[in-house]
């Protein structure tokens, strides 16, 4: 199926007339796929999602969801989408069931249908036993699942997930992936998600768009993207100081060499064969290789390749992350 369910053309959002959060972005999401927006914090992922779910108006450009214009037919869009926001939005003072029913009221779903559906969804996210407990008592993972149940209450055609596993521990995160896979499999739902976890995008998404500084740098399936790097990556360091970039480049099968923080990042077609040749070439000139690492490309390499930054560099401490988010929020307000 290749029906384009979301289509964005030149979508742009400028805050306070000078902060360009999303910069002329073009992409489309096909029916039934899991589409991931991958990028560091502050890259414009949430702003893009906020425009698509009609809580923000684009400054420029347009987008459509299921054929409805997000700016002109916003209420139509709202009826067919489900949203699982980044934050825990469930009301702490209410119980899990009350929260789901509140969501159903927001869509105007009659009580008798809503109750049945709420119980179904609570079962799906395994919260049936906790439905009458106040959300205050829920763990982070349970809250995420509750958000998921709320987002599904109107049987959406497209579900938007903004950082669905942010702040969860590894086990809970992997468990959340299972729910997302289940949604795709059981309901054939189209999913649009943002994440800054590479392994998450790799594990869940059919297609990934890497976004940086408000621009989409590349779009493709995780496999395509990895393949586009054209080979394996050899990272090595030498004991001596001089720049040996040219020397390495002269070795057969080496496609590209970049010097980064004292180590060399070498792209080569057959890494396991090329590596010994590189070591040999260096030794012949009297250099000593101190460290060597051979990696098959992951999305991390793809990310590094296209943004020139390591994902790790952008994941600052929690405090810095909070501060950045507050700044973004203030700008949005």
């Amino acid at each position: 199926m290749s029906e384009e369910i979301i289509k964005a053309e030149g979508l742009t959002k400028v805050f306070n007339k000078h902060l360009t959060a999303v910069d002329h972005v073009n992409f489309s999401v096909k029916h039934g796929e899991v589409f991931g927006f991958l990028g560091p914090n502050g890259a414009g992922k949430t702003t893009t999602i906020n425009m698509l779910i009609t809580i923000m108006k684009p400054t420029e450009g347009k987008a459509s969801v299921l054929g409805f214009d997000i700016a002109k037919q916003d209420n139509n869009v709202r009826n067919v989408i489900g949203v699982v926001p980044q934050e825990y939005t469930a009301d702490e003072d209410l119980t899990g069931l009350e929260n789901v029913l509140l969501c159903s009221d927001l869509y105007g779903i009659p009580r008798h249908i809503a109750k049945e559906r709420a119980m179904e969804l609570l079962k799906l996210v395994e919260l049936t036993d906790f439905k009458d407990k106040k959300v205050q008592t829920y763990s982070g993972g349970m809250r995420r699942r509750l958000e998921l149940a709320c987002g599904l209450i109107n049987r959406p055609k497209i579900l938007f997930l903004d950082e669905p596993t942010l702040g969860l521990d590894v086990q809970t995160r992997v468990a959340s992936w299972d729910y997302i896979r289940k949604l795709k499999k059981e309901f054939g739902m189209t999913l649009f998600m943002t994440t800054h976890y590479l392994e998450e995008a790799d594990a869940l998404c059919d297609r990934v768009a890497i976004i940086d500084h408000g621009k989409i740098v590349v779009v493709g399936t995780p496999e395509e993207l990895k393949h586009s790097l054209g080979g394996d990556i050899i990272t090595l360091s030498i004991k001596e100081d001089p720049d040996v970039t040219e020397l390495i480049r002269s070795v057969e099968h080496v496609k590209e060499v970049k010097k980064e923080d004292g180590s060399y990042r070498i792209k080569a077609e057959y890494g396991e064969v090329t590596a010994p040749f590189v070591i040999e070439a260096l030794r012949r000139k009297g250099y000593t290789v101190t460290k060597l690492m051979l990696t098959e490309p992951t999305l991390n390499e793809v990310y590094l390749e296209y943004t020139g930054r390591s994902m790790r560099d952008t994941e600052e401490s929690r405090e810095a992350f909070r501060a950045q988010r507050m700044t973004m929020r203030r700008a949005r307000a």
Partner: protein
Amino acid sequence: MSKLNEHHPSKFHGIWALTKRELKKWLKEPIILLMAILQPVLWMGLFGKAMNIGNMFSSGSFSNISIPNITLPGYLVSPPYTSGNITIPSAILTQGFQQMFADPNFAPNVMRNIFGVGDYFSYMSVGMISFIVMFTTMFSGMSIVWDRRLGFLNKVLSTPVSRGAIIFSKVLNASLRSMFQATIILALAVLFGLQVSSTFSPIYILAVYAAIFLLCLGLSSVFLAVALRSTKWETQMAIVNLINLPLMFASNTFFPISQMPSWIQAIAQVNPISYLTDAIRRLTVMEFNASAVMFDFTFLGIFAVVFSFIGIALSWRYLTK
């Protein structure tokens, strides 16, 4: 729209859902209600009872004040041919004054001339309803700051609930809470010695609710618009703290406007709090005066329409940016 949402919700389906959420939260925390009630009760008990203003107009207040003899020219007193002066001794005058003070209706009559009500407690305890309306609307405005910070507002904005419903549910919530609290305050005031006027009829309570609703409509729309623009609840808190005292004292809540210096009078006469207080007073503790009550309602009505229009327009612009 009807094809997309098989349940055909009305345009206002969200109002009740959102109001219910707030009321549920409110009822689950009875301590908040208790605190909200306790504050005006303390004011009533301490401020309303500490100083018995009516008692000032009794013979005791004049015990050390000597009344001089009064000497009048004789021709003022009949028969006209009397010459010389006539002196009324101080003792007689003092007795006259004391007889006046001894009349149990004297102090209430003086109070009625100044306050319009026979006793100060009845006067100020009714003002506590305005007090509670003001605080409830302010805090209801603040709650949207939390809704936004916690992401709840964004979630609601992504559902087909109309923006107007989001705003109106806050206003409705503030009004319902104010009415409920006002009922408790009135009941407690009666228990503490509030004296309803002879013209009072239980049906007037409905008019009291209507007046409360009008003030809530105007005030909470304004506070909501302010709250939507301030990103921190601390800012809201500071605003609330700053304006509640002048709003209360530059109104007829505690003292009659006629006794105020002209510059406070100027504020009190445009302060909507004065009109709510006056309307409730005229409906409960003062003699009913239809034209005066109509005037209060007209002012409150205009205030509600103008300010809710401004507030809703500003909020709307924010929510649909």
